[in-house]
Subunit: 191 residues, 4 copies
DNA sequence: AATGAATGAGTTTTCATTCAT
DNA sequence: TATGAATGAAAACTCATTCAT
């Protein structure tokens, strides 16, 4: 019972991800989601109260997945640079291996697809990275600037790689990933 | 006559900018655009062949305005760093003074709002910056990496500032702009 | 379930027939069809993919009904003249008893209301009559001319009676039908 | 002045004929007519009170042209069969040489494009043919049936040839025209 | 819980007609 | 008379959501 419930819910989230990441929120009718999830249109409303709720839930789910991936193998004892590097590579790895998820998150960054409240909620996931940066600042390894600036140069550029990859303009090779990390680190470090 | 022509066209572009930047492409019905432009719904189609054409035209117009602003005062004789700095501050200045335009451009980056052909067309505007980067690479001042990487760290982060400013989360002060440029420069330079 | 399905589909086809035969394809908005069928406007699109599909479906349906009526009681063993006569009277009988259907078919003859492909599809229904004519030609009872000519004189004139009847100009009595058949037969026979 | 007037009026009628015969009444916007006639949209309303009036005028004009052609060389002294033959060949000649006009008339036959009153008005043009038939009936050369029947078999089939020719299905050769006339004559004569 | 037909408000777009110039 | 931009009502079609089964 519970399993079945979970199954349908997951199928719906997965279908939504597929369609929204490929065609955008507003080009994704509920009917198509239902069809792809192999479920009746009305059934969606047993699991989500409306389309907004469905997308918000998906956003939270993916953000969670993404953050879990990002902090995989991370522990707070690590030296700052090593920590930043681990997280950065975890992030790019996740985004490259999960293009639909990455694309969906990208779309959510600059649009009003996701409710404001949900977006805020998702911000908290990043706390360990904020803490790490703070430690770096105390150790005078990381520039003493607002975390917004650090985010803009260390995390945000990843979205760009996803966007251009999607359009088949450009693919980030392993070597480029190394360079890219060096650039990110140069941006945020004091050294 | 010509004036009136231009007037209505401009009013329509301006109304579209307002509404799309605030509510997104798909939450902006033609009827609302017409209303805000103080024009009848049918009139739109005297100036644009359809909604897509209207948005594409707006995109090209703003991209043009943005690039003009970006290269204001720039000449190719300038030393590389000076040139990069000038352009970078021009860009941030434009985006901060024209939040609606900046927001609209941001929305276009990661979505399929704008036709592929039009987006490509707009890319050419950036050529002087690509040329400058290339010169910087010849002079071994700028990292020898793909321009996509340079863009990701030197230009793309500006969109983030726009997005968070829009949500009143964070405002980039003059001082922060200085820091931010230093970060961008550190990312892309070899020094 | 199935019944209800069929019911609404039929109601829609019937409403379309009514309105198109009275006011023409382009003076028949979907909204009116929906209203007459006692159905919401959106419901039409559960049964037909668009207006063209609705009209094409109606055309096929009626053509089918008409051809069934035309060949009622016909068998290939009959002498040629008897066969032609039977079919001819079946046709006029159908058209006189089903003026809306007859009128709809008439409208389709000379306009581009119906898709070319669908019209072709419907042509095949006439095959038995073409075969009969061919037999008649082999037996040298029927003029050795293109079936188009035979059609023009033996079948096409029926549309005229429908058209004028519709305008209440003229009604074809039983006696006139006899004369009319004699005229048709005189036109196509060699005797 | 008058000339110019007439010129524009003619240009408008001609443009309407072109467009309506190719695309049908309802697929022919006033704007297109104006453009093809090299005239402003508003100007149409100096010559015709509305779209219906424009089409009605065109219908009368063409019907007039057609009837003139039909009775070319005809005089009432001619023997009946000769007269019928002359008129019949005049008609087919006109229709084959003026496919746009013929097609337009065909479209008007079975639809509500033309106002009822105008259609009636046009009927009177046929009077000489009706008179000829009547003479034929007095001379017992032509079947003693309603002129509607005579029309259905002697004139109406011509519309069919136009319709199929338009669709490139079938072209009536000179030889076929001979056969066709024989069929028409067989239908209406007593002999 | 699950279904999916039905809804009807909302969307883009067209077009006959008007009217200020 | 001629223009053609402007109008706005109406058209075809979409889709989130509901509800009887």
């Amino acid at each position: 019972m519970t399993d079945k419930n979970t199954d349908k819910r997951s199928a719906l989230l997965s279908a939504t991800l597929d369609l929204v990441s490929n065609h955008g929120f507003h080009n994704t009718p509920m009917a198509k989601i239902a069809k792809l999830a192999d479920v009746s249109a009305g059934t969606i409303y047993n699991y989500f109260s409306n389309k907004q709720d469905l997308v918000d839930s998906l956003y939270l789910h993916i953000k969670d997945e993404f953050t879990n991936a990002a902090f995989q193998g991370y522990d707070e004892e690590k030296p700052v640079k090593e920590g930043v590097k681990l997280i950065w590579f975890n992030m790019i790895e996740y985004k490259m291996s999960n293009p639909k998820q990455a694309n969906f998150l990208s779309q959510c960054e600059n649009s009003q697809i996701v409710s404001a409240s949900v977006r805020e909620q998702a911000l908290q996931h990043l706390q360990p990275l904020l803490d790490l940066w703070e430690r770096g600042q105390e150790e005078e390894i990381i520039r003493d600037v607002s975390p917004y600036l650090l985010y803009a140069y260390a995390v945000y550029p990843l979205s760009f790689f996803v966007a251009v990859k999607k359009r088949d303009e450009f693919h980030l090779t392993q070597e480029m990933q190394q360079h890219s990390f060096e650039m990110a680190w140069s941006a945020i470090t004091t050294k």
